[in-house]
Amino acid sequence: MLSSMPRLPVPMLPLLLLLCTMQAHAHSAVVKIARVITPVATLDKVELTLAWPDDAREGRLRMHAARVDAAELGYHFSALEWECPLRRDGNGGWQCDGLLRAGGSAPAMLSINLASASTDAVLSSKQARLAIHRRAATPDDTTIELSKVPLAWVQALSSQAWAAGHLRAGSLDGHLVVHAPEQPPLRVSGHLRATAVAIETPDGSVASERLDGGFDIDYRSFPDATEVSIDGRLSGGEFLYGTSYISLTEGSRRFAIDALRKGDDGWMFPRVEWNDGDSLRIHGSAGFTPATDLQTLDVSLESSDLGSLSKGYLSGWLAIAGLSGLQAKGALEARIGVKNAQLAVVDARLYDIALLDPGTALAFDGLDGSLRFSDGGVVDSQLQWTSGSLAGIPFGAATLPWRSSQGDLDARADIEVPMLAGVVRFEGLHLRLPRDGKGFTMRSGLVVDQLELGRLSAIFGGPPFSGTLSGTIPVMRYADDRLDFDGGLTMQLFDGRIDVSALAMERPFGVAPSLTADFALHDLDLRTITGVFDLGSINGRLEGRIDGLRLVDWSPAAFDAELHTIRKAGVRQRISQRAVQGISSVGDASFVSSVQGKLIGMFDDFGYANIGISCRLSNEVCSMGGLHSAGAGFTIVEGAGIPRLDVVGFNHDVDWPTLVERVMAATSGDVAPVIE
């Protein structure tokens, strides 16, 4: 596309001056010059031919240059050819309009007017028009007027500054002055208006579409350095830099850049300013590697509308992090420093921020205070929130006093978070942000004090009951998407105790979070349990274990469970008719009774000696067992007294989803007894 575009005719001008020195009386003249050197361009193997018949009003001028190099501007042409009718303009000057061709490019019309005090050249192609004006009094300056000039015409100039940037579409209007004195710098300055600019790097990491804006530009080229200052406004379009995607909708934003490059180093931006009103205001400096990767950054930014900041500027990052639904409100000020491509300093001030991520169901309200991070000396800060929720479980206000040094973030004191009428306390919380190729890690002690399990049950629509969760986790560690807990927790509930140990989580905030744990049940009151879960009524005490419980996406994927009753002095062991039906249905069992089956219906409850059931879940199949084997089956309920009733299961392998359905049915009382 680029090669089809006509190019700047700057090097033509001195050549025509040369032409003026020719004797115009001749019928024809040929001038061959090995090399013409001008401040802007060098022309090699130039051949000028002028044919002027006697008494004719005009002659025929043909110019051919084997090669034209405007090295500082980045333009190189081969086989440049221009042919036009040469005539006097009546004021002592010359005029020539004709087609300009260069190395296979589409031809453009080049009109040149050589007056005694000035030179004008106009290059036009379709709607595009580029007019050049020089005055003999100021030979170092060339004025350029642009009108609908394709951006591709300045590709070579832009490649000088940024080799990888391919200008795919867009046009330029405005005016520029090229100041090319004997001594550098060569300077280009003026005002340009860019329309529908599309830029792309070959790897697609930097790109823009439909960018509109106007800006003052001042470009200076030294032998060993390049400087550019741009000051203007952007009024629309979209822009991508790596993961950052910026979508500019309504309104216009002021921006200013000073850029500097020495030799083959990367670009330095001693001044970067961006003003997008409430969304984002930035000022600071930045430095890039020659491969346009961010190397250093020192910026202050502020946003008084985090909602529009996250929508307009952070969507790319949030999408990659799996937080594309994040809703944010509030205001933020921050200073961010990057050194050697690593985060070195963050000094943020948060003002009443609310965050909600529907994906992970994590929310914070009233997030306020300061957060400072340092990869060097010690800095302190303090953050607080008024409330929040995690997976639908609300938690209360907390204060987080931070200390940061050497890239670590430590809590200066224990962090207490009220939750479920109890408290969760983080002791010695230590965070390490991703750096040196290692991911985010966290380490903390955790004390859980008297969380009310009844409230938890109510949140998830479970039955009401009273119980508490307490415990101490000496160390919990998060690394590589895995959360490990040393120590254990204890649930005080159903007049007994459940110990939870070997806790671990994988992908706690990711895809299909998994939780593994071992549970040990001690002396639970079965009457309360059956009452809470509406399983009829069983009087007695329950013990057992659930080992290797593994929840994936909060559904059981595996466990090895064994539950049984224990005899306790003073505790009557009775089971109600409905509980028998429930257990039988869950255990796919049948009654085996010493009395006539039909008579069972006449009793409300029965005595029992032992109840025991086991299930090993694996691959969606529960391998069931009971107290002991009974012929082809296994005994779940061992009766006692009169009428004596045993419940025996026969189906050893039960489909887990079917079993869950049965439990659901049993708790709703929707079971029909099978009586043998």
Binding site: G204, L240, A319
Partner: protein, 201 residues
């Protein structure tokens, strides 16, 4: 009582004998399972497995060593030593992730595989190979789809290993899957060879 008398001697023998039983990674079963999974995600008309990709599987020979358990002497052997290892990937969690991956592949990724913008990496993931082939307005959405797909894939590799009670198989399962994505890829799609360079199938 008498039959327990031999136990200490047996235990001493067991400790000094230091027997090691190797349980090998069930490469063939894993390949079959991966093929079924991958072809469901890529779609019905996915090209069948072709020998275009070197089927040499460096992971096949890798085995896990288990310490001899003295309980074996009285007939209680560890379950994994008794049963032939199998690869199960039909847990509800994996199937749910698989459906999500299939929807995402159909909905957004497939078109960009066709265009050459995306490719399968040599570590079982999807990568943007040539972003310039994706319109700028789509690029953020595609980047997100790729990140989501990779998060899902990593979760699958992990879950398959854990569901089969061998978390240490994760990297081998990932290797099997990465070969399968490439083997099941359609003609014209791009993939990364072992050296990391992109090739078109």
């Amino acid at each position: 009582m008498r039959r327990w008398m031999g136990m200490p001697i047996a235990a001493v023998m067991a400790l000094t004998a230091c027997v090691t039983i190797n349980v090998y990674f069930p490469a063939a079963e894993a390949k079959e399972a991966a093929k079924e999974f991958v072809e469901k995600v890529i779609g019905e008309d996915a090209q069948q497995s072709t020998p275009a990709v070197d089927p040499d599987s460096p992971g096949d020979g890798g085995g896990m060593a288990f310490r001899f358990d003295p309980l074996m002497l009285i007939g209680i052997a560890p379950a994994h030593a008794q049963s032939q290892p199998d690869i199960t990937i039909k847990t509800p969690a994996i199937q749910s992730i698989q459906s999500g991956m299939q929807r995402r592949f159909d909905g957004s990724l497939k078109a960009h595989f066709d265009s050459g913008a995306l490719g399968f990496t040599n570590d079982g993931l999807v990568s943007v190979r040539d972003a310039s082939l994706i319109g700028l307005s789509d690029r953020v959405a595609v980047n997100q789809a790729v990140a989501d797909q990779n998060r899902d894939a990593k979760a699958v590799y992990r879950e398959v290993a854990v569901a089969n009670k061998h978390p240490e198989w994760e990297s081998q399962i990932r290797a099997v899957f990465s070969r399968q994505w490439i083997a099941s890829a359609r003609s014209g799609w791009w993939y990364q060879d072992a050296g990391g360079s992109w090739k078109q199938k």
